[in-house]
Amino acid sequence: MTDHSFTPLAAGALGGPDWLVARRAVAAEQLAELVWPTDSEEVWRYSRVNQFDLAQYRPMTAEELGAPDVESAPGGGPLAAELGERAALIVVRDGRVVHHELDDELIEQGVTVCGIATCEADAVEPFLGTVSSASPDAFTVLHDAFLAGGAFVRVPRGVVVERPIVVLHWAEGEGMASFPHTLVVADEGSEVTIVERHASAPHVNHLVDSVVELAIADNAHVRHVSIQEYGDHTWSVALQRAHLGRDARLSSSAVALGGDYARLRTESRLDGAGAESDLLAVYFGDGNQMHDFRTFQDHVAPRTRSDLLFKGAVEDTARSVYSGLIRIRPDAQKVEATQSNRNLVLTEGAGAESIPNLEIEADDVRCSHASTVGPIDDDQRYYLESRGVRPEDAERLIVLGFFEDVFSRLPVPALATPLRRAVHEKVGHLHGDAS
């Protein structure tokens, strides 16, 4: 008999290398005492966490996941093709790597691309959890208890990876939970672009509890793009967290289009002086979706800079939440930080919450925050219609234009076209138009 609940026994039975089994066991010990959050906690305010019931899901068994070293899926799909040339590809199904490939040239330069459960233990173990463990919650504990694999990328000192490394996550299985993990380690002075797509089967009740860790050493530059296109019955809780060293740089763009309830914590800790973090996001909910973002720009070191621009739209009865914090710690003088959240509410039944926050403990800083929630401007609509633009096209143009400043800043320009198309289709759906 297989135990189908989230127990230490089920976690232990997932197999994999000893160090990973041991790591899961530590987290699994906490499962019994785990207190699930409610929306009365500030960080879960406006969320749908009260609707969450872990008993609706079960973890996959080792048999269902497949052996870690069996890579059954030749990866890719249309999005990988649309991205153009890439340096590496990792395909992750239900949290386990089922395909990976890396350019020979990069192998020679010492770049590592592999599965967390199949890499040399010495390569992965020292890094796994070093970033995410700084920001735990009930879902990261559950994640760690059932972490059976995931994508690992390490770029050695001084190596510049020109083309993007593509990570495609896929989740399926009615009533199941999966725990995808991506760990990126950019050593001193290295540069890399990671493009991740998270998707899942449509109409299937599935929990995705995922973690992305970005460890960015001194002078390294990581560009990270995350595109979330989960199926309409997927419940997703995700943490994406980066730690930045001296003069390190993160350019992060998150696009959220799918899911039933999809929460993403985007966190950036600027540990080294001169570090810079740019966090961008676009989200668009329709139907009864909820996109829930919690952001944290944590300035530990002086002369650090961070910019955040999150832009969203909601239609039908969809909802969105943006809650963000800029924190400037006492030693972080000469810091510049901005935080801006803009929301378009396209229908009366839809709604968006926007809560920006500042917590400043240093005195020589420049910080600003801004937030807007509102419908499409009537003057803009009228202006376009006075030129002969159909009302539905006017709305599409305005919504696409609203997102354009994020799309045009994506580190992989080839992504802009499929993303514009995806937004175009969402606005079109509002008018019952199939195109």
Binding site: D377, D379, Q380, Y382, Y383, L384, E385, S386, R387, G388, V389, R390, P391, D393, A394, L397, I398, L400, G401, F402, F403, E404, D405
Partner: protein, 263 residues
């Protein structure tokens, strides 16, 4: 040859009647100037013609070649051949002129090519074509861009809502010349709404209508503009034996800094 005909047009905002029986007739190739003091309802007329839904039309008719426009949504009026240059063109981030023209013509026009041609005729620099429409445009750039769209979309009739406001002399001349050329090249009929005679030295009207209290109180040739320049609306009202009505519409936006108070 087409005719834009406005007959006994009445329109209100809430309970306040702003247009009180407007009659006008503009034919292809003609330039008509509609002059009136602030608050006379000139801008309201332009938006009621275009179908802005802030106003309620209580009676009257607006036709192009006998086809009724009232009751049509704004975008359909535009496609019937009516164009409005906006007094205060709104900024739309991320929507370029080429996106607008492509959508306005359902992708049929060679939008890029035609925009490039007009941009050179109107001295519109490339940076204003790659940016969102009207985003951080100066007054002159706005009106050049409005005129560019007018030229590219080739409507039958254009209502120019104070196209002379916020323009420097060079831009006023460029814009006026381009519009005048359209009256000959494509037979564009023009209704130029202004309270400032300067426009009419560049854009020479065939007919001048004086608009007060929500209607046309008198019409004549270009000499009527000269009379207004000399005697103001008070002088004209005295000659006509009417009172200058108190404003029926509050000026919604800041007044044109170029306008001389009281004309």
């Amino acid at each position: 040859m087409s005719v834009l005909k406005v007959t006994d047009l009445h329109a209100s905002i809430g309970d306040v009647e702003i247009l009180r029986g407007v009659d006008l007739e503009v034919s292809s190739g003609e330039v008509h100037a509609l002059m009136g003091p602030n608050g006379s309802g000139k801008s309201t007329l332009s938006h009621v013609l275009m179908g802005r839904d802030d106003y309620t039309v209580t009676s009257g008719s607006v036709t192009i070649d006998g086809e009724e426009l009232l009751g049509l949504p704004t975008w359909k009026r535009a496609r019937k051949g009516l164009f409005l240059t906006h007094q205060y063109p709104v900024e739309i981030v991320g929507v370029r002129v080429v996106d607008l023209v492509t959508a306005a013509t359902d992708g049929e026009a060679d939008a890029g090519g035609r925009i490039a041609t007009e941009a050179s005729r109107l001295a519109v620099r490339d940076e204003f074509l790659t940016r969102g429409v009207n985003v951080e445009f100066s007054g002159g750039e706005q009106k050049r861009a409005e005129t560019l769209q007018l030229a590219v979309l080739e409507p039958r009739f254009a209502v120019l809502d104070e196209i002379d406001s916020g323009l420097d002399v060079d831009a006023l001349r460029d814009v006026s010349r381009r519009i005048e050329a359209m009256t000959e090249e494509t037979g564009l009929g023009v209704l130029a709404i202004t309270h400032y005679a300067r426009l009419l030295t560049e854009l020479r009207p065939d007919r001048v209508h004086v608009f007060m209290g929500g209607r046309v109180v008198t019409s004549g040739g270009p000499e009527l503009a000269d009379e207004l320049e000399a005697g103001g609306y008070d002088g004209l009202a005295a000659r006509l034996g009417i009172e200058v009505p108190s404003p029926v519409a509050a000026a919604e936006k800041p007044l044109d800094p170029f306008a001389t108070p009281g004309f």
